[in-house]
């Protein structure tokens, strides 16, 4: 039994049990996100996907759809709030796009572009964070980690391993691994889903380098979210309701 609600005035249909993000994705409406991934249970940490539901802020990745709900997504106020969140992530870590191998395919960078981030207004923290290169195939660069827990969830839910977890709290919170000898002591493998799902350049396969030339990288072609929005054009071409 379908539920109907609106996103920015557009009618959207969904099934009970779906989240706002699930339904929006299917309908070809892009809600920006960083920690959410369709193959993983929602985490709710980045707060980039926050929408207004009947006037109240809720994370779209967690909030279930409800009949008749009025959801606001693409508004100047929400864009501004989301931009501030992304700026907070940039100044919290050490995100040097100019030499990062993930530049051009990085979701943090791509969302920042899409939200119109210019010069961050916040002071940079310049934290001292380590790089764990102990594993022969995978490197973990804490400088770039945004604590999205995709690796934590991916390792458990998809790889059926338990390589990653979180230690400490607050600003000292960081990824820890299941061996006292660093990533090299764990059963991490090159083709782990946990590694593939990292949205930024924190978890990377070694010896890949700058594999794709500038101009031909994923987000050089089109802004992040375009593949979701493409579904809407498709649906309306086929005369289907959104």
């Amino acid at each position: 039994m379908a539920l109907t609600f609106t996103i920015d005035g557009v009618e959207v249909r969904g099934e009970p049990g779906q989240t706002i993000m699930n339904a929006a994705d299917r309908a070809g409406i892009y809600i920006p996100r960083l920690c959410a991934h369709e193959r993983l249970e929602p985490h709710g940490s980045c707060r980039v996907c926050v929408v207004l539901v009947d006037g109240r802020p809720q994370p779209a990745c967690i909030q279930p759809i409800a009949e008749g709900a009025v959801v606001e997504n693409h508004t100047p106020e929400l864009t501004s709030l989301r931009r501030q969140i992304v700026e907070m992530l940039f100044i919290e870590g050490n995100h040097y796009c100019m030499f990062c191998e993930r530049s051009g395919s990085c979701e943090l960078q791509a969302v920042a572009y899409r939200l119109g981030m210019m010069n961050p207004r916040y002071p940079f923290f310049y934290p001292a964070r380590p790089v764990d290169a102990t594993h022969p195939e995978v490197v973990l660069d804490h400088n770039r980690c945004i604590l999205c827990a995709r690796c934590v969830r991916g390792s458990q839910q998809l790889d059926h391993k338990h390589v990653y977890g979180f230690a400490r709290r607050g600003l000292e919170k960081h990824i820890t691994v299941s061996s006292r000898n660093g990533l090299g002591g764990t059963d991490t493998a090159r083709d782990d889903q946990a590694v593939a799902l990292c949205p930024v350049g924190a978890l990377m396969r070694k010896r890949v380098g700058y594999a794709v030339p500038i101009g031909r990288r994923p987000f050089d072609q089109q802004p992040i979210g375009s593949e979701i929005e493409a579904r809407r054009d498709q649906a309306s071409k086929q005369g289907e309701p959104v």
């Binding site: 992530l89 002071p123 709290r169 006292r180």
Partner: protein, 584 residues
């Protein structure tokens, strides 16, 4: 997990890297899961600590009462700095944010022992005795009042019950009296009694208790849980400390009634680690009730089973948030949970759970004893009953006051001998700073809401310093799960420091307002949503305190630029002060 970690700390003093692997193996879980829990809580350690861990309270009230001088005395006597351990392995010195002793500050924990009204002399005496005897029991202090004198407590903590009211501290109640009334009705009728009383949660949020119980009763699950939130971490709140010491039986009775009403056989008291000194006394109280047939199987012959266990916390303010509390009970990091689902449907271990404050459970017992209409006679229609207020700071009578809800703040201040103060923080660090023009407002859920914390600040106090203390507190206590709170609290801290140091401009006030609004809208739980309150409420009610610190010259530079700091390196190399900026 928490119990295992507490045991390991009691025996060994810390959890080493080897121990992480051993515990993981014994519990059939992974090393990261153990490390995740150990590293989250302030009272746990992964490196060796001294035999005696001295935790000095860094709360603003303790600072007002001279804790910094006491800190220096400890540092001198021990020869170490905060965060360090003496070479002989006897002492570790640390700060802790709030002990629940604001009415008898300065206070400290020495392992589980609470010491209050510290002075530089008593600090030196403590070190001397422990060096000589290595035995905490050799520390001699006068016993406190009330049950602080009980053989299982034997604490110097004073009761400081300044005003009793008709509901909680009025006449006493025979154990089982309210329970008998409850068991003579159906569970639904019990919930009705609580609804007629219009009882609202006493922890600060004020959610209608009857409604919460109804949701939990209606939820499906093989088992249900009733939890008492005894985490009392909100700075300035110490009323549950007094309830747990003087009326724990009332709380146990209220929990049992809740169990009957919602269909639960399992109760948990989540007791903050700072109140470990009350643990033997509380366990004894539970044993007594079991002996009297008020806990356990077939209570009072009504075929109703219910028992309670006590879960100790380990130093994390966030664990006062109900879903973080649940995470902690489950042996995890104290991260709040995603909602929905809500605890009534999926709480502890995914089972229907009702979490109520200690004081709420005590009110329930009284309501079943004397009736819903009796309770609703006190207070106001929207905020029925009495409330415990814990008053501290610049006042003649710090302590606990039981007053009807709806009482004006000015009346409470008058009772506590705090009438001439210039500001009152109502609701703890997450509350609001109230100015004298608003002292006529009512202490009620729909006006000046508070879980009990009332902190009074006299005319000579620096309000920005007080606000900075609250901001520092949230920066340290943020669980770190979500971006706006984890990063935002640090940005708030830096922004306020800038103004305090005289480097702020008018733009910085607007910046703090916007940052606070972003945190309130985007944060995942109550901590991030209320952390901006001290700044936002003082910007609103005490704007002149900020304006008096603004520096128009600072407008020349970018918002985040600190000229002095930027010149330090160059001046050190050049071996002289900057010539160009010589007039700064």
């Amino acid at each position: 997990m928490m119990d295992v970690l507490h045991d390991v700390h009691r025996e060994v003093g810390h959890v080493s890297s080897d121990a992480l692997d051993i515990i993981a193996r014994e519990l059939s879980i992974t090393r990261v899961e153990v490390e995740s829990a150990v590293s989250f809580y302030s009272f746990f350690a992964q490196a060796p600590r001294g035999r005696f861990v001295i935790r000095l309270c860094s709360d603003i009230i303790d600072r007002m009462y001279g804790v910094e001088r006491v800190a220096q005395a400890f540092q001198q006597e021990l020869g170490i700095d905060f965060g360090q351990t003496t070479a002989d392995g006897l002492f570790t010195l640390a700060w802790t944010p709030f002990l629940g002793m604001a009415d008898q500050a300065p206070a400290a924990l020495i392992n589980e022992k609470v010491v209050v009204n510290l002075s530089t002399d008593s600090a030196r005496e403590i070190v001397k005795v422990l060096r000589e005897t290595s035995d905490l029991a050799q520390l001699k202090f006068p016993l406190g009042s009330g049950n602080n004198r009980h053989p299982l407590v034997r604490s110097m903590v004073k009761r400081n019950l300044r005003q009793s009211g008709p509901v909680l501290f009025g006449e006493s109640m025979e154990p089982g009296q309210a329970l008998q009334q409850a068991l003579a009705m159906s569970p639904v009728e019990v919930i009705d009694v609580v609804k007629v009383a219009r009882l609202r949660g006493r922890g600060g949020a004020g959610f209608p208790t009857g409604m919460k119980w109804e949701f939990t009763r209606a939820a499906e699950g093989p088992r249900k849980y009733v939890i008492a939130n005894a985490d009392e971490g909100e700075p300035g709140t110490f009323k549950d400390r007094v309830l747990l010491t003087e009326l724990p039986d009332l709380m146990f009775e209220g929990m049992t009634i809740a169990g009957y009403a919602v269909g639960s056989a399992n109760g948990i008291v989540y007791l903050r680690g700072e109140y470990t000194y009350l643990l033997p006394f509380l366990e004894h109280g539970l044993a007594e009730r079991r002996r009297q047939g008020l806990l356990g199987k077939n209570i009072l012959g009504h075929g109703f089973d219910f028992d309670i266990r006590i879960q100790l916390g380990a130093g994390a303010y966030i664990c006062g948030e109900e879903t973080a509390l649940l995470s902690s009970c489950e042996g995890l990091r104290g991260d709040p949970k995603n909602r929905p689902p809500f605890p009534a449907q999926k709480g502890y271990l995914g089972l229907p759970t009702v979490v109520n404050n200690v004081e709420t459970h005590c009110c329930v017992a009284r309501i079943l004893q004397k009736g819903g209409p009796w309770f609703s006679k006190f207070g106001t229609p929207g905020s029925t009953g009495t409330k415990l207020f814990s008053v501290a700071g610049d006042c003649d009578g710090p302590g606990v006051y039981e007053l009807p809800l709806g009482t004006k703040l000015s009346e409470l201040l008058s009772l506590a001998g705090a009438s001439g103060v210039k500001a009152v923080q109502v609701g703890g660090a997450s509350g609001q700073m109230v100015a004298p023009r608003d002292f006529g407002r009512a202490l009620a859920f729909d006006d000046l809401a508070t879980g009990g914390s009332i902190m009074a600040f006299g005319p000579e106090r620096d309000l920005l310093e007080i606000v900075q203390a609250f901001v520092d507190f949230f920066r340290d206590e943020s669980c770190g799960y979500c971006t706006p709170c984890r990063v935002g609290n640090r940005l708030m801290q830096l922004g306020l420091e800038k103004i305090q140091q005289g480097r702020g401009g008018l733009d910085d006030l607007a910046y703090l307002r916007e940052l606070g609004t972003t945190m309130k809208m985007m944060s995942r739980c109550g901590l991030g949503q209320t952390a901006p309150n001290p700044v936002l409420s003082t910007l609103q009610n005490f704007q002149s305190e900020y304006e008096g610190r603004l520096n128009p010259a600072q407008q020349r530079f970018a918002a985040t630029f600190d000229l002095d700091k930027a010149l330090v390196g160059a001046e050190s190399i050049a071996q002289h002060k900057s010539l160009y900026f010589s007039s700064r």
